[in-house]
Symmetry: C2
Subunit: 334 residues, 2 copies
């Protein structure tokens, strides 16, 4: 960065951004951005900080992957509330050695994803730093009648998860060289790695689930199905859950690893970074939820039920196993 | 940080926060915060990233000073739009060697200042990092009829600045040992250093100026009066300004340094980090602005006028001097 300067980057960035439009009245360039949302349901805000070497490894994460993912994880947080994302703020701590081409690729991928969801880059900050730090804040509109919170699950509710589980964890193991890829299955390897590097935020699905009035609690799976389910159980007043192993939705690629005994189902349930939606709903909502699955083309799989006792049990191969999801986790994060 | 853990800190933080109230429905603990502002004038959002060794020097900045200032600079950005701050988001990159007492003092000062302005900590992120990184995002309500932007100054407008100028720069010079303090003036030294370490955001003043309908352009002085005035001139379509040296408001402490020839007025105009409000208004607004000064108890000094030609001239000691404020600056920042 030292040799090309911060200002050139910002100048170029501002020139390629479209003028503020829609809800956004004033974007980059004043003391603050100004946006006038239509909705009377309120504003949802989420923020994430990513640090090189802690949250990502530049040896296998391209600039474009990182630009994509640093926005995608925030989109996923808003999806988990049923929100419509509107304005994003990007702050970068940039080391002196960073190449301009790297930053260009990062920004290209970030803005490309923003465009897909009609999100406008409305501000941020760029500063010098010893290590690469990315801080993203995303503002969105709350759905009517209310955002979907983590609290609200009740005994007897079904537990659902979208898409498939464990792909991201397998992709990470492959990227890190902890698992060897199947030599005859390079498409499967690509798929799993891309599920880790390019997670898809379930924005449209989240909006439909919020509008359905059927969902009692929801979040996105970042810490792993077990830990995130536990967040719902704690937030809902200390409930428990039973999960059926045979119902856990696995991609064909993940299924192969499990069938070959190369990974345990349990590891896929605790691996994390799935960025799928995990939610609960009373059994009366089953038909409505099936309709939403059809409409969005995203599998919504019923994997178990909320119970009274304060544990998470996995039923697999004819036996119950207790999964301990409880423990310290980041309450602060949102 | 390694020895006491992130979770204990977050747990303790959440326990001391009051429950979400007023506009804030859901604070820390879900995927995103949820707030329902009353105002139909829209939302103003500002964000800042601070990095140890770049934006602050821990050798003379206490944890409490830094906790205070990392919120104050964002409050000042909203003050510069005439906004009412509502919800703040704090993300921290924390080095392993950081002491718990340091972080406690940081948070105490941050929350104490938040309380003064009725701002609620509604979310954030804490992550491991090699160096201390602080990223703050602040959401607030836009004033009616509109926020005060940097654009909008016209030829003939008066130029005003609140409070006094250059104290923060002198304070920084004293803290860094670049200036030697006057041995008979420790109160002056304390005052100047505190103006650097504990700048006061002009929230109430900003709200009154926005409501007055008299202000044509406004920002807060962070880069220095000259550079920030230039931001207004550029944003307003390429105007110029004449500033009268004798009108520049100096504190008694700063005046002493200038009188003793130990610092040039020009340096105080370019030093930066004043966090005073710099604004323009047509001469017809003079009485109204004087009333606001009386009401808030904050000096509002007319220091010059907007001109047609594309330069900033300082008139002092009987001669005009051209001040070059133009040059690369951070457009991206808000």
């Amino acid at each position: 960065m030292a040799d090309w300067g911060e200002f050139g980057f910002i100048e170029a960035l501002c020139q390629r951004l479209p003028p503020a439009s829609g809800a956004l009245r004033i974007g980059i360039g004043d003391d603050a951005s100004w946006w006038r949302p239509e909705s009377g349901n309120g504003i949802l805000t989420t923020t994430d900080m990513l640090v090189a070497g802690v949250h990502f490894d530049l040896s296998y994460t391209s600039a474009a992957d990182l630009g994509y993912k640093s926005l995608a994880v925030n989109l996923s947080d808003l999806a988990a509330m049923g929100a419509k994302p509107v304005c994003v703020y990007l702050s970068l701590g940039l080391p002196a050695a960073l190449k301009k081409t790297w930053l260009d690729e990062f920004i290209d991928a970030f803005l490309e994803l923003a465009e897909v969801y009609d999100v406008q880059l409305a501000g941020g900050d760029t500063v010098a730093a010893r290590e690469l730090v990315i801080s993203v804040t995303l503002n969105g509109l709350a759905p009517a009648p209310s955002p979907l919170l983590r609290s609200g699950a009740v005994v007897g509710d079904d537990i659902y998860v979208s898409g498939s589980i464990g792909d991201s964890f397998l992709g990470l193991q492959l990227l890190q060289g902890c698992l060897q890829p199947d030599t005859n299955a390079s498409a499967a390897t690509d798929f799993l790695q891309s599920r880790h590097l390019r997670p898809q935020a379930r924005i449209a699905l989240g909006e439909l689930l919020a509008a359905s009035g059927r969902v009692s609690a929801m979040l996105d799976v970042s810490d792993g199905v077990v830990a995130d389910l536990d967040h719902i159980l704690v937030a809902s007043g200390g409930l428990g859950a039973e999960i059926e192993g045979r119902r856990i939705p696995l991609s064909p690629a993940a299924r192969q690893f499990v069938a070959a005994g190369r990974i345990a189902l349990r590891d896929l349930l605790t691996g994390g970074e799935d960025y799928e939606l995990l939610f609960t709903a009373a059994p009366a909502g089953r038909q409505k939820i099936a309709e939403i699955a059809t409409r969005t083309g995203v599998d919504l799989t019923r994997i178990g039920q909320i119970t009274e006792k304060d544990t998470i049990l996995l039923f697999a191969n004819g036996v119950f196993e207790e999964l301990s999801g409880r423990g310290g986790y980041d309450h602060f994060h949102n």
